[in-house]
C-alpha cells in the first residue's frame, strides 16, 4: 500500500483519551477492591456472580439483542445488496464476513453485536434502509464493522465488570446493613457495611461515567474507521443527519396502515444538553458530523 497521501489512520488524541479512561477505570477498580478488603467485606463471592453474569452476557447477548429487536438473520438471496456491501467492507477491513440481520421497524438504526469477529452480527432496521441512499448505508455499515474490528463488545463488557460488582454489592449491602444477619461478629460490623455501601455507590456512579466516556470515544473511533474503509466520511455525516434528531422521527409508513396504532407513539426524547451528554453512550451528532467533515477535507488533500 502506498502510504503517501494517506493520512495517519490513527487519531492520537483519541487513542490517548481511550487509554486514559481505561487507566482511570482500572485505578477506580483497584481502589474499590482495596477498600472492600480493608473493610473486611467478602467481595469475592459477588465478583464470581458478576463474572458469571457478564460471561453469559458476553456469549449470549447478541442473541438476546437480536431477539429483543425482532431481528432476523437474512441470507444472501434475501438481501443481496446488503450482503454485497458487507462483504466488500469486511474484505477491506480484513475481517471474516459477519452475519447480517434485519429488524422490521421504521426506527432508523443499525448495530453490531457478537463477542468476536467470527461470531459478529451486523443488524440494520428496515427504517434505516428506507431513509438512506446506498452510499450512506455503506458508510453506516462501515461504522458497525469498525466496532467489530475494534472488539468493542468485549472492551465494554470487560470495562463493566467491576461496575457490575459494585451494583451487586450496593444491593446486597443495603440488605445486609438493614438486617445485619449473622455478620455482626465480623470485623467492622454494621458500620463497615455502611461505608462499603457508600463506596460501592460512588464506584458504580464514577465507573459508569467513565464507561460512557469510553463508549463515546469508541463511537468516534468507529466513525473514523468507517471513513477510512469507505473513503466517504461525508456520506456517514449525511447518514447521521438523517437518522438522528428531528428527521428520524418522521415515519415512512402510510397513515392508512397505522390507523389505530396511535397508542404506541413514543413520547419524543428530552432535548440534549451538556448534562445529558455526560450520561450518553453516544457523542452528540453535531460533533460527530463536524469531525467527519474535517476528515473528509483531510482525505481530499
Amino acid at each position: 500500500m502506498v502510504t503517501r497521501n494517506v493520512p495517519a489512520t490513527r487519531d492520537w488524541g483519541l487513542t490517548w483519551r481511550i487509554w486514559f479512561v481505561m487507566s482511570m477505570l482500572a485505578a477506580v477498580y483497584v481502589l474499590f477492591i482495596s477498600i472492600l478488603s480493608a473493610l473486611g467485606i467478602p467481595w469475592q463471592g459477588v465478583a464470581v456472580m458478576a463474572g458469571i453474569m457478564l460471561f453469559v452476557q458476553f456469549f449470549f447477548s447478541h442473541k438476546l439483542v437480536l431477539w429483543s429487536m425482532g431481528a432476523k438473520v437474512v441470507s444472501e438471496a434475501e438481501a443481496p445488496k446488503l450482503h454485497a456491501m458487507v462483504a466488500r467492507l469486511a474484505t477491506a477491513a480484513s475481517l471474516p464476513k459477519p452475519k447480517i440481520a434485519v429488524a422490521n421497524t421504521d426506527v432508523p438504526n443499525a448495530f453490531a453485536t457478537g463477542r468476536s469477529a467470527g461470531s459478529a452480527v451486523v443488524c440494520v432496521t428496515t427504517g434505516i434502509q428506507r431513509r438512506l441512499t446506498d452510499d450512506e448505508l455503506e458508510a453506516v455499515l462501515g461504522h458497525e464493522l469498525t466496532h467489530v474490528k475494534n472488539k468493542d463488545v468485549m472492551v465494554i463488557t470487560l470495562a463493566s465488570f467491576f461496575a457490575t460488582v459494585a451494583s451487586f454489592l450496593t444491593q446486597w449491602l443495603m440488605w445486609a446493613s438493614l438486617f445485619g444477619g449473622g455478620n455482626r461478629d465480623r470485623r467492622g460490623g454494621a458500620g463497615a457495611f455502611f461505608v462499603a455501601y457508600i463506596v460501592s455507590m460512588i464506584v458504580y456512579f464514577v465507573a459508569n461515567l467513565l464507561i460512557l466516556a469510553l463508549s463515546r470515544y469508541r463511537e468516534y473511533a468507529a466513525d473514523r474507521g468507517s471513513a477510512f474503509l469507505t473513503r466517504m466520511p461525508s456520506k456517514l455525516a449525511s447518514a447521521l443527519g438523517k437518522i438522528s434528531g428531528a428527521m428520524a422521527r418522521i415515519p415512512t409508513e402510510d397513515l392508512r396502515k397505522t390507523q389505530g396504532a396511535q397508542a404506541f407513539f413514543i413520547v419524543p426524547a428530552i432535548k440534549g444538553d451538556s448534562i445529558a451528554e455526560l450520561f450518553s453512550s453516544h457523542p452528540p451528532t453535531a460533533k460527530r458530523i463536524e469531525k467527519l467533515m474535517a476528515l473528509a477535507q483531510e482525505l481530499e488533500h
Binding site: M247, P251, E253, D254, L255, R256, K257, P268
Partner: protein, 200 residues
C-alpha cells in the same frame, strides 16, 4: 386521551367544532414566495369505511354516501363557487372524496362544509385526513396533510416510495408554523402514498 375509548358520537350531545382546514390559505403566500409552490386546485378527503369502534354497527360508508354528503353540504353553492367533486376508493379500501376548485380559499371552505356535514351525520370516527397537494415550479409535489382528529397540518413530500424529502418537510413546517397549526409531534407525520386524486 384515548385511554377510555372514543366518545359515543351518537348519544353524546353533538358539539361540532369548526375545523382549522381553512387556515391553510393563510400560508399560501409563504409557500408561493419562499418555496415557489402553488396549490394544484384539489383536495382529497380520506375516510375509512368503518369507524373502527368495536361496537360500531352502522353500515359502512360507500362512495354514493360521500357524494350525497357533498351535495347536501354544498348544495347550489357548489355550482356558483365552482367546486366539483367525485368519490372513489383506494388500495386500502379507504374512501376518498376529491374536490376540485382552482381558488384555494373556496376549495378549503367547501372541504370544511363537507366535513361539518359528515360530522353532523355522526360519522366523525370515519374521518381520517384531508390531503391538499401543491406543486413547485420544478415539478416537485408537496402535500399538506390535515389530520382531522388532531386538527393539525403536516407536510408530506414524496420521493420514490418509501423515500420522502424530510429536509424539505422540516423546512416547510418551520417556515409556516407561525400561521398554521402544524403537528409538533413528528412521529405523527405519517405518509399518504398514492392518494387517488386523479379521479377528477
Amino acid at each position: 386521551m384515548w385511554l377510555f375509548g372514543r366518545s359515543k358520537a351518537k348519544d353524546a350531545p353533538s358539539k361540532i367544532k369548526p375545523d382549522k382546514l381553512s387556515t391553510l390559505a393563510t400560508v399560501s403566500n409563504i409557500l408561493e414566495e419562499q418555496f415557489h409552490m402553488r396549490p394544484i386546485g384539489k383536495l382529497g378527503l380520506c375516510l375509512r369505511p368503518h369507524s373502527g369502534a368495536k361496537k360500531d354497527t352502522s353500515p359502512k360508508l360507500t362512495e354514493p354516501d360521500l357524494e350525497a354528503f357533498a351535495n347536501n353540504a354544498l348544495g347550489i353553492g357548489a355550482v356558483t363557487s365552482g367546486t366539483e367533486f367525485k368519490a372513489t376508493q383506494d388500495q386500502y379500501k379507504y374512501l376518498w372524496l376529491v374536490l376540485r376548485n382552482d381558488d384555494l380559499p373556496d376549495l378549503l371552505s367547501a372541504g370544511s362544509k363537507i366535513i361539518t356535514a359528515i360530522k353532523e351525520k355522526g360519522h366523525d370516527a370515519n374521518l381520517v385526513a384531508a390531503v391538499i397537494p401543491f406543486r413547485s415550479e420544478d415539478g416537485k409535489e408537496v402535500n399538506w396533510i390535515y389530520e382531522l382528529d388532531r386538527d393539525r397540518f403536516y407536510p408530506f413530500v414524496p420521493q420514490t416510495e418509501p423515500r420522502r424529502d424530510n429536509q424539505l418537510e422540516v423546512e416547510l413546517a418551520t417556515k409556516t408554523e407561525k400561521d398554521l397549526p402544524v403537528e409538533q409531534q413528528l412521529e405523527r407525520w405519517r405518509a399518504v402514498w398514492g392518494a387517488p386524486l386523479d379521479v377528477i
